[in-house]
C-alpha cells in the first residue's frame, strides 16, 4: 500500500549553515497515528514544516498522499491539515469566520454544515460568534484544530497539540484524535508528553539531532526496549546485597526494606524463579512483591541519551 507520507533522503540546511535534518527516510501509512518524539531542537517541527510547505527542503523527496510536495504542491497540500505548536490566531475574527476562511483558503467551497459539525465536535459551537481574542488558551487551541479540519484533510499534523492545556481538554483531544483515525485520517503527532504517545500512537519515531534513530510499532518498541522490575518488600531490612546475589541485577532501596530486580521484558522469567529460590535458601523473607514495566518515557529518555 502506498504510504500517506513518504520522505526519502530529506536534508535541511538553514542559511546559517545549521543542518536541522540529516538524510531522513520515513513512511507513514494511511490511517495510523504516528508519534514523532524528540528533545527540543531535534528537528520535529522542521520536518513537519517541510512536509506542509512552510519551510523549503534542501534536498530529498517528500510525498503526501502520493503527490510530490513541490511539483504537485496543490494536490499534496489539499490533503494536509496542520495544527501548529504556537497559538497563532486571527484575534479579531470570530470563530466561525476564521474556520470558514481556512476552508476557502484550502480550495473548498463553503459548507456550513461541515463547519457546524467540526465546531460541535470540538465544543466550539456556542463560541462561534465570539472573537478569538476573547477565548481561553484551551479554546484557542480547539479553534486551531477546527481550522485544520475545516477542509476535511486526510492527513493531520498535530505539532504539540496539548501543550499547555488542562487534563480534561487533553483527554477530549485524545478522544477526538481516535475518532479521526476511525474516519481514516492519518495523524502525525509530535509531543513532549510521552504519556500522550503511549496512550494514542500506533507507531513511534524518535528523532535526535536531525536524525531518525528509531521507527517502531509502539507495542513492539515497549516490549523490545522496555525493562521489567520485580520489587520485593522485605520483612527485615538488609544493609547490603547478599553475596549470593551480587552477580544478579539487584539493588536495595527504601533503607534496605526493598529489593529491586531488573530484567528484560522479553527475557524468559527463569531469573525471577532463581532469585526467589535463592532468597528462600538464604532465609530472606518478604511480605509483598510486585512487578512493573518501564514506561515509554523511560525508553525515550534512554534512547535520546545514548
Amino acid at each position: 500500500m502506498q504510504p500517506d507520507i513518504s520522505v526519502k533522503h530529506l536534508n535541511k540546511v538553514y542559511a546559517d549553515g545549521f543542518q536541522a535534518l540529516k538524510d531522513i527516510n520515513l513512511d507513514i501509512t494511511r490511517g495510523e497515528i504516528f508519534a514523532l518524539l524528540g528533545p527540543n531542537g531535534a528537528g520535529k517541527t522542521t520536518l513537519i514544516s517541510i512536509i506542509c510547505g512552510i519551510v523549503n527542503k534542501s534536498s530529498g523527496e517528500v510525498k503526501a498522499a502520493g503527490h510530490d510536495i513541490v511539483k504537485e504542491y496543490r494536490k499534496a497540500r489539499e490533503t494536509i491539515g496542520l495544527v501548529p505548536q504556537e497559538l497563532n490566531t486571527d484575534s479579531f475574527e470570530t470563530v466561525w469566520n476564521a474556520v470558514s476562511f481556512s476552508r476557502g483558503l484550502f480550495g473548498k467551497p463553503a459548507n456550513p454544515a461541515h463547519i457546524e459539525k467540526v465546531l460541535k465536535d470540538l465544543s466550539l459551537w456556542d463560541k462561534r460568534n465570539n472573537r478569538i481574542m476573547a477565548l481561553s488558551g484551551g479554546m484557542k487551541r480547539r479553534v486551531m484544530i477546527a481550522k485544520a479540519l475545516s477542509h476535511e484533510p486526510r492527513i493531520l499534523f498535530l505539532d504539540e497539540p496539548t501543550a499547555g492545556v488542562d487534563v480534561e481538554l487533553r483527554r477530549d483531544m485524545w478522544e477526538m484524535v481516535r475518532k479521526l483515525r476511525e474516519d481514516g485520517v492519518t495523524i502525525i503527532l509530535t509531543t513532549h508528553y510521552i504519556e500522550e504517545a503511549e496512550e494514542m500512537a500506533d507507531r513511534i519515531g524518535v528523532i535526535r539531532q536531525g536524525e531518525i534513530i528509531l521507527v517502531e510499532d509502539k507495542d513492539r518498541l515497549m516490549s523490545k526496549l522496555g525493562k521489567k522490575e520485580l520489587r520485593l518488600q522485605l520483612q527485615q531490612p538488609l544493609s547490603k546485597v547478599p553475596g549470593e546475589l551480587v552477580l544478579e541485577p539487584v539493588e536495595l532501596s527504601d533503607d534496605g526494606y526493598e529489593l529491586i530486580y531488573t530484567f528484560d521484558s522479553q527475557q524468559e522469567q527463569a531469573g525471577v524463579a532463581r532469585l526467589l529460590r535463592t532468597l528462600g535458601d538464604i532465609g530472606i523473607e518478604y511480605r509483598d512483591l510486585r512487578t512493573r514495566e518501564s514506561s515509554l518515557e523511560e525508553i525515550f529518555v534512554g534512547l535520546v541519551h545514548e
Partner: protein, 253 residues
C-alpha cells in the same frame, strides 16, 4: 486556479476594512477635507488660476493621489505584515494557493479599498470645490492602475518589514515627500528650470500629471509618458514579488 482561496483572502481583507472603517476610510477622508478647506478654499481663494483652472480644483487630482498612494501602501503592507507578525502566515504558506493567487487576494483587496477611498474623496471634494472630469474612463483607469501598482509596492514593504517602524518608514519618509514635491500643489512649470529637471526623476510627478490630465486635459508631462512610467513601476513591483516568492525571502526559510 484556487478561486476559493483567492476569494477567502480577498473577503478576509475586506472584512478587516469593515472592522477599521475609522482608520481605513474616515481618517484619510477627513485629512483630505482639511487640505481642501485650507489650500482649496482659504488659501486657494487668494491664489490665481493655474492653466486656467481654479487653484482649489487644480489640487484635487494631487490630493486624491496622495491618499491613494498612502492608503494603497498602508493597506497592502499591513495586510501581509499582520499574518507575519501574528504567525498566522503559516496557513497561507501551507495552503494550496500559488503566489499569484496570494498576491491577487491581498493586493486586490488593498487596491479595492483604495479605489473606494479615492471615489469617496472625489465625491467629498464636490462639497468644497467645483471640478470637471474631462476623461472619466482615463481618470478611473489611472485610479485603478495607481491603486494596484502601489498596493503591490505596499505588499513588498509588508514582506520586507520586520517591525512596525519599518512599515511606516517608506510611506512617511519617502512617499509623502515625493507626493508633496510631485506637483500636488503646483505645476512643475512654476519651478526654476533646474528643479523642473530634478522633478522629472520623481515618479509621482508622472502619476499626478497623468491623473490631472484625465480631469482637465492639462499635464506637466505627456499622458503617454505618465501611463508608461506607471506601467514600468508596476512591472518592477511584479518582478520583485516574483523574486520574493521564488526565493522565499522573509517568508519561507
Amino acid at each position: 486556479m484556487n478561486y476559493y482561496g483567492i476569494r477567502a483572502i480577498y473577503r478576509f481583507e475586506m472584512a478587516r476594512m469593515g472592522r477599521t472603517l475609522m482608520q481605513s476610510v474616515a481618517s484619510p477622508v477627513i485629512s483630505t477635507c482639511l487640505y481642501f478647506v485650507v489650500f482649496g478654499s482659504a488659501i486657494g481663494s487668494r491664489m490665481g488660476d493655474i492653466d486656467n483652472i481654479s487653484y482649489g480644483a487644480y489640487i484635487i487630482p494631487g490630493l486624491v493621489m496622495l491618499s491613494l498612494l498612502m492608503q494603497s501602501i498602508s493597506n497592502a503592507s499591513f495586510g501581509i505584515y499582520m499574518p507575519k507578525f501574528s504567525g498566522t502566515i503559516y496557513e497561507v504558506l501551507s495552503a494550496p494557493v500559488s503566489y499569484v493567487e496570494v498576491v491577487i487576494g491581498y493586493v486586490g483587496a488593498a487596491a479595492t479599498k483604495s479605489v473606494i477611498l479615492g471615489l469617496i474623496i472625489l465625491a467629498t471634494a464636490r462639497l468644497f470645490v467645483d471640478y470637471d472630469v474631462l476623461h472619466p474612463f482615463w481618470m478611473f483607469s489611472f485610479l485603478v492602475l495607481t491603486s494596484v501598482t502601489f498596493s503591490l509596492f505596499g505588499f513588498i514593504i509588508g514582506i520586507w518589514a520586520d517591525g512596525f517602524e519599518k512599515l511606516q518608514i517608506v510611506p512617511m519618509m519617502i512617499v509623502t515627500p515625493l507626493v508633496f514635491l510631485g506637483g500636488t500643489f503646483y505645476s512643475i512649470d512654476m519651478l526654476p528650470e533646474v528643479w523642473q529637471t530634478i522633478s522629472l526623476f520623481n515618479p509621482v510627478v508622472y502619476l499626478i500629471s497623468g491623473f490631472r490630465w484625465a480631469f482637465y486635459g492639462v499635464a506637466d508631462v505627456h499622458v503617454g509618458i505618465s501611463a508608461g512610467m506607471t506601467l514600468m513601476f508596476l512591472t518592477a513591483c511584479m518582478v520583485t514579488i516574483w523574486w520574493i516568492f521564488r526565493t522565499g525571502y522573509r517568508l519561507r526559510s
